[in-house]
Symmetry: D2
Subunit: 355 residues, 4 copies
Amino acid sequence: MSAQNTKAKIGILGASGYTGAELARLLIRHPRVEIALLTADRRAGKPMADVFPQFAPYVLPTLTAIEGADWQALALDLAFCALPHGTTQKVVADLMARAPATKVVDLSADFRLADPTSYARWYGHEHFAPALQKEAVYGLTEVYRQKIKAARLVANPGCYTTCAQLALIPLLKAKAIDPDEIVIDAKSGMTGAGRAAKEEMLFSEVSEGFHAYGVGHHRHMSELDQEFSLAAGREVIVSFTPHLVPMNRGILSTIYVRGLDKASPEDLHVLLAKAYASEPFVHVLPFRTMPQTRHVRGSNMTFVGVAADRIDGRAIICSALDNLTKGASGQAVQNMNVMLGYPETMGIDQVALFP
Amino acid sequence: MSAQNTKAKIGILGASGYTGAELARLLIRHPRVEIALLTADRRAGKPMADVFPQFAPYVLPTLTAIEGADWQALALDLAFCALPHGTTQKVVADLMARAPATKVVDLSADFRLADPTSYARWYGHEHFAPALQKEAVYGLTEVYRQKIKAARLVANPGCYTTCAQLALIPLLKAKAIDPDEIVIDAKSGMTGAGRAAKEEMLFSEVSEGFHAYGVGHHRHMSELDQEFSLAAGREVIVSFTPHLVPMNRGILSTIYVRGLDKASPEDLHVLLAKAYASEPFVHVLPFRTMPQTRHVRGSNMTFVGVAADRIDGRAIICSALDNLTKGASGQAVQNMNVMLGYPETMGIDQVALFP
Amino acid sequence: MSAQNTKAKIGILGASGYTGAELARLLIRHPRVEIALLTADRRAGKPMADVFPQFAPYVLPTLTAIEGADWQALALDLAFCALPHGTTQKVVADLMARAPATKVVDLSADFRLADPTSYARWYGHEHFAPALQKEAVYGLTEVYRQKIKAARLVANPGCYTTCAQLALIPLLKAKAIDPDEIVIDAKSGMTGAGRAAKEEMLFSEVSEGFHAYGVGHHRHMSELDQEFSLAAGREVIVSFTPHLVPMNRGILSTIYVRGLDKASPEDLHVLLAKAYASEPFVHVLPFRTMPQTRHVRGSNMTFVGVAADRIDGRAIICSALDNLTKGASGQAVQNMNVMLGYPETMGIDQVALFP
Amino acid sequence: MSAQNTKAKIGILGASGYTGAELARLLIRHPRVEIALLTADRRAGKPMADVFPQFAPYVLPTLTAIEGADWQALALDLAFCALPHGTTQKVVADLMARAPATKVVDLSADFRLADPTSYARWYGHEHFAPALQKEAVYGLTEVYRQKIKAARLVANPGCYTTCAQLALIPLLKAKAIDPDEIVIDAKSGMTGAGRAAKEEMLFSEVSEGFHAYGVGHHRHMSELDQEFSLAAGREVIVSFTPHLVPMNRGILSTIYVRGLDKASPEDLHVLLAKAYASEPFVHVLPFRTMPQTRHVRGSNMTFVGVAADRIDGRAIICSALDNLTKGASGQAVQNMNVMLGYPETMGIDQVALFP
């Protein structure tokens, strides 16, 4: 796949949702990729521009239904799966059985939990593809880059969880913070809620207001538990509250932590800055400078800031990313690049769109 | 003042800012009030409608400069002071010296801190009117109603602090939560930042984004320290982080607390519900129902919700209010009503404007 | 009904939509009204606060289905009908047959067109209640006040059409503008599109963008044709293009007109100012001052401005109102006041909420 | 300059404004460009990331003051001038005198009007660089491509005028519409107003509202007059009204026209479609499909739609572009590409960012 002039054949399953559109936006200009398949069951037969008019000027495959797809004949090099939870497991299992050479980056939550018991508890049913659940590699690129290189199926992380993990994993690994005293107060733009037509997502229900949701019982917690516990080498359960911001894109996590062994806020900052010194998509700001979501909009960047709380020994960390880019489709392309042996930043090095 | 048909003569000092406009909005329709004075130094001589066109249909006094005001001749029953920090102390001291019969509700932070040392530490200079600082009554109506009745000078609380205090004071008083383990993650609409023309408040700098500010060192903390310590009967210092939401009005505080003596989240809910059972402007929602700022917009209401965190013994409390109404001018009118012997809800019983 | 201390028994049919909520907001504080009935078929059995949490602090009837309503027993003095097009005709016909003493203000488009042929052409079917269509009085209060007083059924005007008519009808009546050369470019906030869950109304589809819709063939045109032709005494057909603005409330109409018989823009301004000199809800701004929707938000006001175009003999008129208030529910209450003999401004004299 | 591997040395004068930032966004990823100079007088000495934090991850020159610039030594291949009106003329005259080999793309209005009399009338003073005013080439790339190739100084068009011209010039040239009957109702996002800290641009003054401004006398009209008259071969004066939309980016022009010689709306559509068939940055939508600004956000695209008005012989045309990209900095880079012999789409072929 990595010969200089060949293009990988790519499919986007679920192209009529926001993460599907974001994949298309990035892949249209990716120099080593050809979009060979776009599926959208309810819009099958329509041009992509009917569903997302911004694509009107570009030549793209007509939307098709997944059902009819002949995975073997399509011979995709890689498929992005941007389908709803549940459906995903069946589609991916079928695809990977029929086209063993096709790699998959799955953007749903279906393959993120490695433990079948944990999956069943949070999702209320047994996993439909337990073998694949085991095989899947968790796709936080900065942490699992080596495994992703060899993976056939990558479970792309959630947007909230990417944002919180990038801020905390180096600190947990270094045992620099108290794993029992982490509070994550997270705020997300509306595209994180998807494109399904629900009353509570209407413009007039959302604009000019702010609220928390899923308080005490949000599904993303299981993903945080898994990865934080792995990083800390012991069980970690955090307080986590998601909120909705009247904006399209962006997540800001405000994270309250306490240093261990006299680790000061400055120490935590140094730790993070070192951990990400050579990472292209994580940028640690100067101590006390805090990130804003608008400054990463449309880019694959994560900005991280650290400040001292006025209570001794406590620090406040903020991390910001674009939920559709680094929080979903951008990281998915980053993973594709790793899986196909391309330069990791290829096609996803856009500068943020501000204002 | 409380004879059925008389109207109190009222002045608004600083009528060209947002809290001034909000006072005008409420007072124009208040049945027992006559707006006799509107000041705005830089706009002196202009009609109020030049500064806030929404008032074009109403007859209001022309804007004047404070400097020329003859407080004695004006014989105001009550003046609302909506001036910037610092200026306020001098104006209020002068006004109250010349017109001893005029009561004052001050919306700045100048008279909120009772302790001169604390004031000097947070504001970097000695108080200009230490006697008045001592005399001033802190104007969180639900807590200090009796003192406000007799007060000549009321220090109207801040918007962030009103929101957090209404959620926490009954719990601190009841010693139901651990005062050392309180995290307040607060989010405010943009009107809280006032009307001064600053680059960082421009529409294009603010819309479509979210960020924290003043992390670790926001001035409102001193006000929280004072009132929480009084309520708890011991020193209380909380973690507090303010954020800006791309919306005009509203504050949501997400508060992380831990029950003491096995107080469960449900217990905390019961405590709050009882504390506010007969309060007209604080409404405790059913357990696990969380408030949204949009549902109190333009009203003097505070909505409070309580839910259990998934970590045993911890609860998450959200409180929501409109920063310009209950968080500033609405509460100021509420205090005026108490000070003048009017029904407490008079003129501020508007139903929230949603959507 | 007009005895000082009695309250009219009022019903809101269709209380789960935005115009229903706006009616509730206004009527809760109306001193001569008791809300006796709230219907919402799909939410029947639920408290109003489940559907619109801003009403949580108020005592209101539980939502019921229309089907079971015993109109005779209910003995409503007046029912507001805020139901979708089509349904309305049947419900109103049934209600008025069973409870002849109950007056109706209908907020749908169903009874606005007096001509059955015109109705059938625009809506694609015969009217279901042709007798009532004939009886209904068109509810633009400023124009039809006398007829409304005696009406049993009032067809409340559309939001776009109220905004354009208030700007143009005095000019057409005075034959001061060329009826063949009117261009109305109208812009509306999103609540005008209602609360139905549609993909194109989602926050992320709407925010940060602007577009025209229904270009060349919007149904509201029939209502404009009817009323403009009546005012001009001859057939009038205008160019009319509606647009959607990423905001909740407000309509601005930018109207391009040409003076007849040398009527200058200043002359047109004088004409409008005189026409509305004593109207409580239409305010004509000084010549060349143009209105902004934000300055009428939440109020029943219409602001009108006139300026000269740089092309001789042409003027540009802008009118602004809140589509949910003067453009729908506020005007509906204004009509109720007229029908029940109450002061016309009762309960709808709120000052605009800005910012 | 066009050797495959060399990079042009580029300067951005006025890098602290929005068009400056947009230039930086595009040029950072332009493969044939090196940003050698960034000026911002009041921020001189600071890193670009202090002024626009989105650039924190990139290596860029420190901001400098224009005054000290040694144009000869800098030996820029091309300078983008994004300075305020007035200042521009002096800076550009000085720069071009000292560094005759440096080409200039000016984003201000200073060199757009070819006629000194017209300039003096609209701007109230004689032009400071009349010789350059004469030399400057108007930079609407699609129309003046050949002249731009050879130009030393290009006057980049305004955002409103680019949007209206792309929709109308082919029709005026073809004499397909009546030049005396054109109404342009234009709506712009807030970045068009720049980054200067003005009260009327504050978030809370802008959000949740809509209004017209500069009614009857907007300066952009002179630019429209000039270009429309040139295209039509006779004097053309249009009605033009700009409005502000509570969004960051985007302009939509709704244009009312009348066909000449029985040209139908369909005919006008065919004319436009043909005119732009091979243009990379103007896309004519199918007849009756109307553009939305959100679908060109962040891209250099202009979308144009045509529909029939219901009045015979009249058509409604909508055109949409991003005011900072095709309306300013994107078109400036497009012009740079033409001037330096690069492929015209190089570095500005980003797909629109939606949602």
